[in-house]
Symmetry: C2
Subunit: 362 residues, 2 copies
């Protein structure tokens, strides 16, 4: 029996469905209702295209199909690579009724979404995320964009897809470290808002690492539900949505310092989440037992718990100062009031932050 | 006495005011209500910056001010130049509460607007257009973007400014041919929708060419009112907004044939407008007296009335076939039912179009 789930992200006239389950890339009926014109451009990368591009193409025989295969990796998530998508669209004379399909991980999704947001000032797109990270994170919420050499995701748009199709079979080809990196974001949902889901993850981490399809589908669905709930309340990231960035301000500093691609995003988020928990403990908000529990669940997912060797307190302070969550010079962080209850706060001193970083580094 | 006008563009929660009058670049109170943070980035170009950048900077002494000066010209309206704006914003550590100010003509406005639309997924911007063309055209409507080597304005966003400040003094430094080119678009508003404004322009062309500040402010205000009315009805260009393209399909063909920069946009539109009037006469919609009247008002503004020598009927037909207004192989044009009443139509034969072009060229 095929277990297929459907989740609806409620955003008024920009609402869209998320389909989750095995064998979805064999089901044309999931796509055709969301493609309004005759033109489709599939955007993928050199790693994913050999695995799934042909399958995707065979799904849409009636369409005027084109495809662009980008180089793989965060280091190519920039305006130059974005322009390759525009080149393809214009060379194939795609018009305003075209639909872009993002077939790949978060980088492909973010770039394809931004290309869709800005080609002829906005066309449709469908997300087909093929990594656990993109399935639980970047395919929900409408954030699209590219990096700049001075900061991640600094150029982009909010642009909602017409639909998201998550075929859990694609996880069978995902490397182990990328599966773990995705689990960092899954664990995050438990930590910020869903204590029961956190417990579920602690109990089922072995099955998830063993790629049990039913367990993975359940984890993806609950993650997407949590994110969809937050996003529906706060589409443009004025308040609650910031909670989704638990560990990310520290994590972005780690990624930038290491050089894009050296640390997987989820790995950096995991180490950043431990730092957020430690600062929360220093504030007296959570116990050392809570910090240990946070570390254990991340460790069970085979994730790193500390920043890279050689990264100094000053490195962190400098890199965190350009973070998007700085407002008028005031750094705000996502910290934990308890496990399953996060807040956005600037209610900490720079000394506390420095001490936390210093302890973690030594 | 200073005569200052205010016009409100009604777009729901993205509504904004347009201020028009002399000496506005000396009035801080026009800007400060529309700047929500402490950071401001002024974007200008090599031609306009020496004239007005310092004045603009002195207006905002309390702000953390930065500026980027771009090379001047349509040939620099691309992703590479756009990236210079992002470089400046990130080097100066501007955050999501920054405000961009576009100080220059249409190219500066389009690029600054797109930078504002996409920097950190959207920040505020204020338009300070310094050419007549940008004051009556590109500062209203929210269209932003850059060119791609395969097409003009192919990459962009709809992004509304917080305010538009039109200081008519800036027209004192505008070259004569650019003033005339701007008047081509002003006359267009009369021809498509406002017969009384057309008469007003016929009666006051001398004063406008003499740069009478009060008359210029009136012409700008009535042009912006007309465009704001059309845009408010049709923000995303589904229907009525196409009327704003009177003369533009012919004009684009002239610009492309001459090579961009050889003919000013407004000059090409003027010659295109005469062609549109002549085809309308051939259809029996307007009289030869109406065509003469159209020619006379454009001639009074020192605008060209005929295509460049050496451009053939075939040149026009080929170049017009790639226009964005071709839908399913059918060329649509903006033609005149009477002076002050334009329609979008494909209700003409290719023979009629060819005869009109042939007569105009000989």
């Amino acid at each position: 029996m095929t277990t297929r789930q459907r989740l609806d992200v409620d955003l008024g006239d920009r609402s869209y469905p998320i389909f989750i389950g095995p064998d979805l890339l064999s089901d044309e009926s999931l796509f055709s209702p969301y493609i309004r014109g005759s033109q489709v451009m599939i955007v993928s990368n050199e790693t994913v295209a050999p695995l799934y591009l042909e399958q995707m193409q065979q799904l849409l025989p009636a369409k005027q199909l084109a495809s662009v295969v980008l180089p793989d990796g965060e280091s190519f998530k920039n305006l130059d690579t974005l322009n390759q998508i525009f080149d393809g669209l214009l060379e194939q004379r795609h018009n305003r009724t075209t639909t872009l399909i993002a077939l790949g991980g978060g980088v492909v999704g973010d770039m394809t979404g931004f290309a869709a947001a800005s080609y002829q000032r906005g066309v449709d797109f469908i997300q087909v995320p093929t990594t656990l990270l993109s399935q639980v994170d970047s395919s929900v919420g409408g954030k699209t964009g590219v990096n700049h050499r001075l900061g991640k995701n600094m150029i982009g748009a909010f642009h909602q897809p017409q639909a998201v199709v998550i075929d859990t079979n694609t996880l069978n080809t995902l490397p182990d470290n990328e599966l773990s990196a995705g689990l960092a974001e899954v664990i995050k949902y438990g930590l910020i808002l869903e204590p029961q889901f956190l417990t579920w993850l602690e109990n089922n981490m072995g099955a998830l690492l063993g790629r049990d399809p039913q367990m993975l589908a359940e984890a993806i669905k609950r993650s997407c539900e949590t994110k969809a709930k937050v996003v529906a309340e706060d589409e443009k990231e004025a308040g609650k949505r910031a909670l989704l960035n638990l560990g990310h301000t520290f994590g972005h500093a780690i990624e930038t310092h290491a050089g894009y691609g050296e640390w997987l995003h989820g790995e950096a988020v995991a180490a950043g989440t431990v730092l957020a928990a430690q600062l929360s403990e220093r504030l007296g908000w959570i116990s050392s037992a809570d910090v240990d529990r946070t570390r254990r669940v991340l460790e069970a997912a085979n994730l790193p718990l500390a920043p890279p060797a050689g990264m100094s307190v000053e490195d962190f302070i400098d890199l965190m100062a350009v973070d998007k969550k700085v407002i008028d010079g005031q750094l705000r962080l996502i910290l934990l009031k308890s496990l399953g209850d996060a807040v956005v706060t600037s209610d900490f001193s720079e000394a506390m932050l420095r001490d936390t970083l210093s302890d973690a580094i030594s």
